[in-house]
Amino acid sequence: MTENIVKYPPRGRTRAVKRFLGQFLRDRGAQVGLVCLVFFLIVAAMPNMLVGPLQTAINATGDFLAPPSGQHLLGTDEVGRDVLNLIVHGARISLTIALLATVISLVVGSTVGMASGYFGGWVDTWLMRITDFFFVMPSFVLALIITPVVLEVMGRSGYILGFRLSLFVIITVIGMTSWSFVARIVRSQTLSIKERTFIDRARVVGSSNLSIMVRHILPNLVPQIAANGALVVAGAIYIETSLSFLGLGDPLQPSWGTLLSLAQRAGAASAGAWWYLGAPGVCALMVSLSFVLIGNALDDTFNPRRRAIP
């Protein structure tokens, strides 16, 4: 069975991957994006080792809204918490929300797109109707109305895997509302892939629809899914930051958006506390920018349609 599906001989596949990596890593944007991303992933992986446990109003050490100094490299907030401590812990929360939301949206988007393109007919018609709705309505607008209601229904307290329930609500809502773009692209790719000979061959051998989709079509969709996945993460960060800024985040596990919301409520802008509102914003900007750069570089590498300029 497996012999039938391998398209490249093993060495050829390794070479293809190597060539891809070589071209991808030569892109300046990809380099910047990857370095930046690795930095934030390391920070998010071990916040306790880097800056100690998350400070609260009770164990805060500094003055109120103190500017950066040797002791507090990024100053303090309105209750005396160290801003560096807050944004390092915020990195873990923001990145978790963005990445998990992206996983959900990629799974939903690929499933819907693949089923739609593969089965065609009324399945296609109805799935695309639904996709159209989510395509037209921006994820932020949908999340803005759905999140408060779901929070009201589920409650904010309770923990799942060490994260507050309200964060899971945000993750799910963002994931379930931002998949339409992926679904459209996956569908159009599936439409062309399913006409290829190797799909017919698999069908003749007696593979089921599910196994054709998972084993033969899905591997060929990886480039599109990866390139768009990076852009979905950037979008998810934007939406999460905006929602949390409007007060839908969780103050007990503050993401960067929640920190910005706290800064706004404390009047940091009119008090001139640039360190307090600057730090979380710079982090959100850098992470989202590096995902955009990586997404663009992936897209460029997979679509080498770069012709000379006249």
Binding site: R129, D132, F133, V136, M137, P138, F140, V141, L144, I145, I146, P148, V149, E152, V153, A234, Y238, T241, S242, F245, L246, G247, L248, G257, L260, A263, Q264, A268, A269, S270, A271, G272, W274, L277, G278, G281, A284, L285, S288, L289, V292, L293, R307, A308, I309, P310
Partner: protein
């Protein structure tokens, strides 16, 4: 004959777009209805909650009948709700007791339109031209600067930009006000008042416009750099046209297509995007209302805003479809 056929085709296209728009709006309204009813607790209990101790069960039951809550959810209540929404009856606000949601929204709409409209005009003038030029001179100094800064602007949350603008131009330098729409001391004299309003408008407009500029530069540049590789540009050059003629007659017209589509689509989206910016400046528009409603869990107002955003997005999509049909001769 050909004209007749193409006109038929156009009207069919528009008809389909119109049906799609209506269906989308119906889904938005239905979602509104479902979300509100998912919240635990009966609406009658919720509305009378403040006076629970002094309200008897019979009174609640009477009120339920009065509001039609005793009838089946589907189809009776849904149809009632959709019918009322269609007539502009969006119910009453929780927070602003006794005020109609529709009135609240229409009161706030002009401030948002002023903010978003002005920002849109500035972004179109600045962003599109810069993007087209950057795409035309790909790899040049201006292109490099424009690409990097527009990508950065594109990934920056607009409300954070707004906070930075306040710190720089309001708190530190004191040039412009960073809060509200009018100074408390402003006189009633019309010219002074207008100037005061414009001063307050400056920073919010800048924040929204900068975000839009990032988007327009990215798209206009991509469109233009696609166009310059097309065969007809080679033909144009072979005909001996000057750069200026090539740019004006061939490149710009073709590159404008995706840009115009984006601009029209944005007409619907920017209202939503401006919500967070308005929250930063306490701008008395739809965004300010959204934040107040979110904090007070004022669901009727949130529903009304959702309907408004949905309607503006759907309308913008319809407009984009129309514009595309007019601009692209291949669709005609």
């Amino acid at each position: 004959m050909a004209g007749q056929a193409s006109r038929n085709f156009m009207s069919r296209r528009l008809g389909l777009a119109l049906i799609r728009a209506i269906v989308t709006l119906l889904i938005v309204a239905t979602l509104n209805f479902i979300l509100f009813r998912v919240i635990p607790g009966d609406p009658a209990n919720m509305l009378l909650a403040g006076a629970r101790s002094s309200v008897t069960a019979e009174q609640i039951e009477a009120q339920r009948q009065n509001w039609g809550l005793d009838r089946p959810l589907f189809p009776d209540q849904v149809v009632d709700y959709l019918w009322a929404s269609l007539h502009g009856d969006l119910g009453y606000s929780f927070k602003f007791r006794g005020r109609q949601v529709a009135d609240l929204i229409f009161e706030r709409l002009p401030a948002t339109i002023a903010l978003v409209g002005l920002a849109q005009i500035i972004a179109i003038l600045g962003g599109v031209m810069l993007g087209l030029y950057a795409g035309w001179r790909r790899g040049g100094a201006i292109d490099n600067i424009a690409t990097v800064s527009s990508l950065a602007l594109y990934s920056t949350p607009a409300f954070w930009l707004a906070m930075l603008l306040i710190v720089t131009f309001s708190t530190v330098s004191g040039w412009l006000p960073g809060y509200g729409a009018y100074s408390p001391s402003a006189s009633i004299a019309s010219v002074d008042r207008l100037l005061d309003y414009l001063k307050h408008l400056a920073l919010p407009v800048a924040a929204v416009a900068l975000g839009l500029i990032g988007q327009y530069v990215v798209v206009a540049r991509a469109a233009m750099s696609e166009v310059v590789t097309e065969d007809y540009m080679v033909t144009a050059r072979a005909k001996g046209l000057t750069h200026r003629q090539m740019l004006m007659h061939h490149a710009c017209r073709n590159a404008m297509l995706p840009v115009v589509t984006l601009i029209t689509l944005n007409l619907g989206y920017v209202v939503a995007g401006a919500i967070t910016v308005e929250a930063v400046f306490a701008w008395p528009g739809i965004g300010g209302l959204t934040v107040e409603a979110l904090n007070a869990r004022d669901y009727p107002v949130l529903q009304g805003i959702f309907l408004l955003l949905g309607a503006s997005i759907v309308a913008a999509n319809l407009l984009a479809d129309l514009a595309y049909g007019i601009l692209d001769p291949r669709v005609r």
